[in-house]
């Protein structure tokens, strides 16, 4: 192909020519292949779910006027994964309840850039404030591609009494004052310059859904 193709498109071409096929080891059997079979089966799994998060930030002034609103994806952390396993199995009885805000989302070596969230993040870089979220549950019974989808929605509105630049957030099990509190996810974003009496509404949706190509037909 032409060398003039932008890098992203060139990668797309390569991908289409050589799609990743060696995904599942040969010794595994997909669920759909097992149905109808008799006798022993090999180790493997294809039935799986996806977890993702969507953060909606709305900045309002003291009169409730919306100054800014944006919707962002997040990164689910390793500590979050571990804690999900622990609460589902009863090893821990503490769910994720808190939303934390922070001011350490910028790269200190290059302050014009954000520090991208990483799965290994275990806390915010610079904690600023926290609140116990109002949680609710929503289910989508017939998502077009994925069938069933379950969503946990976290909401909290922060108010401010001083000028502060907020640029990172996460969902956590407990208060930041509790050492080693696991966080579920993290997101950095460009500064929300909060003036005294401003509000920052955080709505965070954690979605559990099937992968679209794993449904048994």
């Amino acid at each position: 192909m032409s060398e003039n193709i932008p890098a992203g498109n060139r990668r797309q071409e390569d991908y289409l020519k050589n799609p990743p096929v060696a995904i599942v080891p040969e010794t595994t059997v997909k669920y759909s292949e097992h149905v109808g079979k008799v006798g022993p089966t090999a180790t493997g799994f294809s039935d799986s779910l996806g977890v993702s998060g969507c953060l909606i930030i709305t900045h309002k002034d003291k009169d409730g006027n919306v100054k800014h609103s944006e919707t962002l994806e997040n990164v689910i952390t390793y500590t979050g994964l571990k804690h999900i396993a622990m609460v589902v199995s009863g090893v821990s009885i503490l769910p994720f309840r808190y939303i934390w805000l922070g001011t350490g989302g910028r790269d200190p070596l290059n302050p014009t850039e954000l520090l991208p969230p990483d799965p290994s993040n275990a806390t915010l870089v610079t904690f600023y404030s926290e609140g116990i979220a109002v949680t609710s549950f929503v289910e989508v019974l017939n998502n077009v591609d994925r069938g069933y989808q379950a969503i946990a929605r976290y909401a909290y509105t922060f108010d401010f009494t001083e000028l502060v630049h907020i640029n990172e957030a996460c969902i956590a099990v407990d208060s930041h004052a509790v050492t080693g509190t696991p966080i579920l996810n993290r997101r950095t974003f460009y500064d929300r310059v909060m003036q005294p009496l401003d509000f920052l509404e955080i709505v965070w949706e954690i979605s559990f859904t099937r992968y679209p190509k794993d449904k048994v037909t």
Binding site: G8, Q12, Y15, P19, P20, I23, V24, V29, Y31, H34, V35, G36, K37, V38, G39, P40, T41, T43, G44, F45, D47, S48, L49, G50, V51, S52, I76, Y78, L81, K82, I84, A85, V87, V88, S89, G90, P95, F96, P119, T135, S136, F137, E139, D145, G147, Y148, Q149, A150, I151, A152, R153, Y154, L184, I206, F208, T209, Y211, P212, K213, V216
Partner: protein, 214 residues
């Protein structure tokens, strides 16, 4: 987009009462809709239940005419008679119970390592009972628990007979022990990262950050 996967597999192992190993097979499970719902609610603190029961059942297979795995065509022998056999029943996303309940236990060992949780339980199965399905539940059957995951597998009579004919001549006792060890993995998943990227029409990034705990 970072993609997190939850998936599970179970290992069914058969032992004689004296502990002699007979047979084992491992198969992925099906996490049903109620399992997704329960996980979501538990994570958000909206439901206090946990996965603490394993049920077993005898309705996981149908005795029916077999089909060609490649073509789907019904199979006949050389005389034209249908070739019959036990066939695992498909698990539906909306399933809320086992096909045919037989027994349950809360006497499970539960552990949670880095992003993996495992529960394991033993059942004493009479020789003539064909246990061939299992499910993970959030409580006792009497309390209408939520089913997290389910799977059908080779029935215990078949497992037992195959093994007995192969290596064992005399066995005393009236039951065999079925151990079910169920593992649920929470991790980053390059396999599905690529699937997502295909769906989004963008190029798959290097899937090097795989996180398979435990």
């Amino acid at each position: 987009m970072p993609v997190i996967g939850i998936r599970g597999e179970l290992t069914t192992s058969l032992f004689l009462p004296d502990g002699n190993f007979l047979y084992s097979e491992t198969i992925e499970n099906r996490i049903v809709n109620n399992g997704i719902k329960l996980t979501t609610k538990v994570v958000a603190g909206l439901d206090p239940r946990i996965i603490d029961h394993i049920q077993i059942g005898v309705g996981g297979q149908n005795y029916q005419q077999l089909v060609d795995a490649e073509t789907g065509a019904l199979l006949f022998d050389t005389l034209g008679n249908p070739i019959m056999g036990n066939v695992s029943r498909p698990i539906g996303d909306g399933d809320e119970n086992l096909f045919t309940f037989y027994a349950e236990t809360s006497e499970i060992t539960s552990s949670s390592a880095t992003g993996t949780f495992t529960i394991s339980a033993n059942f004493n199965i009479p020789f003539d009972v064909p246990v061939n399905e299992a499910g993970m539940f959030s409580g006792s059957q009497a309390g209408s628990p939520m089913m997290f995951a389910k799977q059908a597998f080779s029935d215990t009579i078949k497992m037992w007979e195959n093994r007995r004919n192969a290596t064992l001549s005399t066995v005393t006792g009236t039951y065999i022990v079925l151990n079910i060890s169920w593992r649920i993995f929470f991790g980053r998943d390059p396999q599905h990262e690529s699937l997502y990227d295909q769906d989004l029409g963008i190029v798959a990034s290097e899937a090097t950050d795989r996180y398979i705990p435990g």
